[in-house]
């Protein structure tokens, strides 16, 4: 018996979530008094995983797996679980992780708990806390089946250093051509821009900015902070900003360390997408804006005055702390 973590990489490099799921896997393996195995596919610097507690790294290197394919990857994960006799599999909540988890669960006859935010409160019965009702509540879920899959919510457990001297094993699963029922024809990525999914800080603005031409200061603020930019739904619907930036109930989920909301009223559907962020700052002309109730820090003021000042102050702060 062991715990299997799938550590995702893109173009050979691990994403931050890979270290988070590994940290989580280490913790759960300790609780269950068993060992941790971390599976990686076409990753280059596998030794990085030992820093987060990976005792054993199982590494697959195969050209057929260069482009992510959920069904194929899920099959590789299943083969790894069988080989390692793992009955608990942990997967992240990136776009690919969310795609994989239900497939892996069905293929391994496992019960799946998604959106999990903490280590199990009990390992027998296996009980985990997960987000529900758009972050307005938590659900304690018991996985009753023998095999289990946990989908870990982003930025929930955190990345925890826990250096171990680990081992590396090459693994060559069977990859059947029959699994490639879906073919990737193109991948289009915004290069060089911090994405909402990966960002530690997100700077977001709403209809209070009056029109799409006023986003220069928001982008500047995001740049000083190394943040991703985001917006409210009407802003995307009006075409002021691209749809990928829309956060909320029907848009992206943000689980960043810091979320700065400028000229956003704080409608419940917007908050549903950002409640999981740790620290929230609100800048709004209206002291009665509902967003202040959900915020940690607030400034009542005109965005067109406050944001440029904030940029200036942050630049000064950065210069001092370099």
């Amino acid at each position: 018996m062991s715990v299997l973590v799938f550590a995702e990489s893109t173009e050979g490099k691990f994403k931050k979530v890979a270290f988070e799921v590994t940290s989580y896997g280490k913790k759960v393996a300790e609780q269950m008094a068993t060992n941790l195995v971390v599976l990686t596919i076409n990753a280059s610097n596998t030794s990085e995983l030992h820093q987060y507690g990976a005792e054993k790294v199982l590494h697959v290197n195969n050209d057929k797996l260069t482009v992510f394919n959920a069904k194929v990857y899920a099959n590789v994960i299943k083969q790894a679980a069988e080989k390692e006799n793992a009955n608990l599999i942990i997967i992240d909540s990136s776009a690919n992780g969310l795609y994989l988890a239900p497939i892996v669960a069905v293929n391994t006859q496992a019960g799946l708990a998604s959106n999990v935010i903490a280590a199990p409160s009990s390992t027998s019965p296996f009980t985990v806390k997960r987000k529900a009702f758009s972050n307005k509540a938590f659900q304690n879920t018991i996985i009753t089946s023998e095999n289990k899959v946990v989908g870990l919510a982003k930025n929930s457990f955190g990345v925890k250093e826990n250096e171990v001297s680990g081992s590396l094993e090459e693994f060559s699963p069977t990859i059947s051509d029959d699994l490639f029922g879906i073919k990737s024809t193109s991948i289009d990525k915004t290069i060089g821009k911090v994405t909402i999914a990966d960002a530690d800080i997100v700077v977001s603005a709403g209809r209070g900015l009056k029109n799409g031409e006023n986003w220069g200061m928001v982008e500047e603020l995001a740049e000083v902070l190394g943040a991703a930019t985001a917006c409210s739904k009407p802003v995307a619907d009006l075409g002021w900003r691209p749809h990928e930036e829309h956060v909320g109930q029907t848009g992206k989920q943000v689980a960043s360390n810091l979320y700065i909301a400028i000229g956003i009223s704080g409608a419940i559907q917007h908050l549903a997408g950002i409640n999981a962020s740790k620290v929230k700052v609100v800048i709004n002309t209206d002291p009665e804006a509902p967003f202040f109730k959900a915020a940690d820090y607030g400034i009542v003021g005109d965005a067109f005055e406050v944001v440029p000042k904030l940029v200036e102050n942050l630049k000064a702060f950065k210069a001092q702390n370099e």
């Binding site: 239900p102 799946l112 529900a132 758009s134 740790k278 820090y297 702390n321």
Partner: protein, 248 residues
């Protein structure tokens, strides 16, 4: 083409979230139910296939009689018929199992679901249906075209999008972007009248043991009050973010 749209019946987003019976049951008191917003995108795309490509559109829900008004609303929007699989939705796996059974029996070519139900936030059911049936599956779908038995699908990835090609039968988890927001439909009077006469079939559930169960619920701890900073003292905000919140 035969399309099945999976409809999750969820509390309206503005609903108060409370629990009863020692925090083990969701308190439905005063809660308004709606079509899950992500499913609405999928239903809207299905209507396009009906109108432009002559597809038939069935909507299905796994739930008890309380979900019927939501299915009727889908019929009023334009679906041809509805199926309710009569059982309490216990966990994602059992819901997926029930839907998979109905899909197999009805020989659907295309199954459209939403990426996530906004109540239990599972993001699990569509992928499970596809895996149970061994159909192709695309998650987080933001574009779908069908030509004969070939599908061209776009999915959202972290920081961009990916275009994929595949074949029917196919399961899709749709989300915002799949259709234009302005194409979402509100049922009109005529639609509502017609919906009354459309078939809503109730079928019994197949036997299945759930793999997870919800022990109980918790509400987040009360938030402490927002710290207000003077608009003329932005430097203080920077200091607080650095020293107190430790996020910069």
């Amino acid at each position: 083409m035969k399309i099945l749209v999976c409809i999750s019946h969820v509390p309206d987003t503005t609903s108060k979230i409370n629990f009863t019976e020692g925090n083990t049951q969701f308190d439905t008191n005063g809660v308004q139910y709606v079509i899950n917003p992500h499913d609405e995108y999928s239903l809207t795309r299905a209507m396009w296939f009906k109108e432009k490509q002559g597809a038939s559109v069935t909507v299905a829900n796994v739930g008890e009689a309380i979900t019927e008004p939501t299915l009727r609303k889908c019929l009023a929007i334009g679906a041809d018929d509805a199926i309710r699989i009569n059982t309490q939705a216990i966990d994602s796996y059992s819901v997926a199992k029930q839907l998979a059974e109905a899909i197999k029996n009805g020989n659907y070519d295309l199954v459209l679901a939403g990426k996530e139900s906004i109540d239990y936030n599972g993001q699990m059911v569509p992928g499970m249906i596809a895996s149970i049936l061994d159909y192709n599956f695309v998650n987080a779908c933001i574009g779908l075209d069908i030509d004969g038995s070939t599908a061209s699908v776009s999915r959202e990835i972290d920081g961009g999008k990916e275009v994929l090609t595949t074949n029917l039968p196919l399961v899709i988890a749709g989300q915002k972007g799949l259709v234009d927001e302005k194409d979402l439909r509100i049922p009109n009077m005529r639609g509502i009248m017609m919906a009354r006469k459309k078939p809503l079939q109730v079928i019994e559930a197949v036997n299945f043991t759930a793999k997870t169960n919800a022990a109980n619920f918790e509400k987040p701890a009360e938030k402490s009050a927002c710290k207000m900073i003077d608009a003329d003292n932005v430097a203080e905000l920077v200091a607080l973010l650095h020293n107190e919140a430790k996020v910069i």
